[in-house]
Amino acid sequence: MSRDGLPSGVFDVAVIGAGVIGCAIARRFTLEGARVIVIEKALDILDGASKGNSAILHTGFDAPPGSLELACIKAGYAEYLQIHERLNLPLLRSGAMVLAWTEEQEAALPALMEQARTNGIADVQALTAREARELEPGIADTLRAAFRVPREYLVDPWSAPHAYLLQAIENGAVLQRNCEVTGGIYDGVAWRLDTSLGGIEARLVVNAAGLYGDIVDERLTGRRDFHIKPRKGQFVVYDKPAARLAAHILLPVPSKTTKGIVVCRTIYGNLLVGPTAEEQEARDIAELSPKVLASLRHRGEEILPGLAGEDVTAIYAGLRPATEYKDYKIRAREGQAYITAGGIRSTGLSSALGVARYVQALAVRLGIPARTMPDPAWPRLPAMTDEGKRDWQCAGNGGIVCHCELVTRREIEQAMTGPLAPQTLGGLKRRTRVTMGRCQGFYCSADLAEMTRDRLTVGMTGSADAG
């Protein structure tokens, strides 16, 4: 440690940003033998675009053919399927259906299926409205036609990046949170990054700053190749009984600008409707609008009439790091040992592991050697979905604290310790799901306040002005 409390020495790679992309990149470089530091400006990881998404593991069936996005999605998808059991990450093999409600949408289906086949997704299946409704009886009878994409799946948007970063850390990577990169210079051998906590040195810098990708480029290289145009997506999450209404991910026919409003289960057994696509300036605020939320409910009920009267458990919004370009902006800067992984707009959860491989390959071309670790550690994440045996079913769990999501005292204690311990209540929620169920903290807030007292940087009590 140096005087300012930062780890000293020259790292092989500094990754700026601990969103899902940064976490996956840190893992890949670590597994390829590099000494990695991850620098995150927020108090906790996953505080940007990766905080709120639809959690679909895309096949890439609707991605632009020949794009870098498609290549990364396909590689990321394949690797997730390969490693998820080892890391104990859940996977819900739901399949998806693209639904056509108008004549125009119906006319668009053949081309979309053709695009899927071009993209290597050969198992798409055309369905008549009747066939679709036999598979999904909850769908409104105004449906005209559909097609099925059997291998579109659902994942956990939080435990996946946690697992990637945890594997990096268990194999030697360092995480520095609450640390903003403000500038830096490259002297031909290594970077010296200025951060809010002091200087950090690394041979290679990877910018994975998501919604701030262009700003970080500007700060470090003096120019931007793209401009982030945040695109907000709001969601309504229904209580678990609603999940019976749809087994597949129900996708609309996409428009030019958005994949459109999706209805799907979550890996935790809820049902969500969203996201919207709303352009905005702010990169750090994703405000919910009661009108938009009500319209989402309405849209959900048009697709699944049975949703009327189902209870809402949660509402949230996320920001996509969109740019003026359609494709990802991933490129290395010759002579600067610098790679940007930017503009990973609406498919980053699916593509992260693929992006990481692509970035690592670029680094090899920049002269950063790879020495694949012979026998890396494989941490196992605690099972939080009903797919595996949950802690409340095991002896010694300390009793259930969060009754809606059946989170035990032991699970909370375990999450509160270790190298990835949360600093905020939001962080604790993302690790354990406490307060994320139907009562939203009515029953467990008191216990949680007691359990987290003086253990979170932003705790459950106290005013904004008191910190």
Partner: protein, 416 residues
């Protein structure tokens, strides 16, 4: 497998609040041998455990008590009666014929009961379920969460919150704030009048808290903690009010998640179980009492329901209640009617242990006539005036005996 938990019993009670504990005492008094109360919290007592204010206990103990003292007395009485109270035990599934799946600190278990009483209570409607806009900072709490933090743990979550709602529980939140030296900056109600009854509405004035009627809370601001809210008043204008917390009160819903995941029939109107005159669910091994039946009643009323349920179940075990049969199904034919229970009426009001009254609620202030129709014929019609969130009862003897079909309640509202 938890070592000392029985694997069978006469009656299992799910939920150790006023209703469940009253039932346990009644069952023991009737000589039922093994009565097990299953409570998921580390202590029994239910919601009153963290209502550190008056008034509780008049009906049950003939004295005015604070919630925690009241809860402690209920528990002591149940323990003395010989009921077996098991805390930190969560019922995770209700299975056919009275088989319960449990989670305990020692892992999972099963309990087979001859009869089960469901008494899992209510919770408040969350900020999310109300689709309140803005950001999602910390410091947005229900009254239940606020009370738990303050009375059970001595935590002070904020110092200048806005209170949303004017049901009785909103006034509980004012008392709770006062206890911790918290000064609400405003009490906000979307409706034009205060929901709770008369004495409560004097409280904001006494505490000098501005009461803003006809006002919607449309957005919450703040990143990590609340910094303020947007309010839209009767003039339609949005105004920003600084605050460091929001108390989202009332809008109670039955804690019916167990029920909804089970084989038992649920009444969409009440959000609780579909019951007959004996409080019996669609599976006759299951009964229900207390606030799970509907939102929301006082502790005293829930307690009385629990006691009655205990006596009824004891009779069922010893003598046998009348067998379930199709009878009248209560149907509500006006959007002004929120719910009515029991939902099924198949027996004479004079049969032993039959409920004597129908309980109603309305969704909005109503002034007009209430009528009952059966097979398209109006049986009677009477003047009817009611306010939302108030108890309304009707003698069950006003429904015809021994008939089958839909008993349809209609309301004709008088033009204002």
């Amino acid at each position: 497998m938890p070592a000392d938990l029985p694997d069978s019993c006469d009656v299992a009670i799910v939920g150790g609040g006023p209703a469940g504990l009253a039932a346990a005492v009644a069952l023991r008094k009737q000589g039922i041998a093994s009565v097990v109360v299953l409570e998921r919290e580390p202590q029994a007592g239910g919601i009153p455990r963290h209502c550190g204010h008056f008034p509780f206990g008049m009906r049950e103990f003939r004295r005015l008590l604070r919630g925690p003292d009241y809860a402690a007395r209920l528990v002591a009485r149940a323990v003395r009666s010989g009921a077996d109270i098991r805390t930190s035990v969560t019922v995770t599934a209700l299975n056919l014929g009275g088989r319960l799946s449990l989670s305990t600190p020692d892992g999972i278990a099963e309990l087979k009961a001859k009869r089960v009483l469901l008494a899992t209570g209510v919770r408040e409607k969350s900020r999310a379920a109300r689709l309140i806009g803005g950001e999602k900072p910390g410091g947005v709490l229900s009254t239940g969460a606020l009370q738990g933090m303050i009375y059970l743990k001595g935590e002070k979550p904020f110092s200048r919150p806005v209170v949303l709602g004017t049901e009785l529980v909103a006034f509980s939140s004012l008392l709770t704030c006062r206890h911790m030296g918290i000064r609400p900056v405003a009490m906000v109600e979307p409706a034009a009048t205060v929901t709770a009854r008369w004495p409560a509405r004097l409280l904001p004035k006494l505490l000098r808290i501005p009461l803003m009627l006809g006002t919607e809370l449309t957005a919450i601001h703040g990143k990590s903690r609340v910094t303020g809210v947007d309010l839209v008043g009767p003039d339609g204008k949005t105004r920003h009010v600084e605050a460091d917390g929001v108390i989202v009160t009332g809008g109670f819903v039955p804690e019916s998640s167990l029920l909804k995941a089970s084989h038992l029939a649920v009444d969409p109107a009440s959000g609780g179980p579909d019951i007959d005159q004996f409080g019996r669910c669609s599976d006759p091994a299951y009964f229900a009492a207390g606030n799970l039946l509907r939102a929301v009643e006082t502790a005293g009323w829930s307690w009385a329901e629990g006691r009655r349920a205990g006596r009824t179940i004891a009779y069922d075990l010893k003598t046998g209640l009348l067998a379930p049969k199709p009878g009248l199904r209560v149907a509500l034919h006006s959007s002004a009617l929120k719910y009515a229970l029991p939902q099924r009426i198949a027996y004479s009001a004079n049969s032993p242990w039959s409920a004597k009254v129908l309980q109603f609620r309305v969704t909005r202030p109503v002034n007009g006539r209430l009528s009952l129709r059966l097979d398209g014929k109006t049986l009677w019609s009477k003047p009817f005036a009611a306010l939302p969130e108030r108890r309304i009862t009707l003698p069950i003897s006003m429904l015809p005996d021994g008939r089958e079909g839909l008993a349809e309640f209609h309301i004709q509202e008088e033009a204002q």
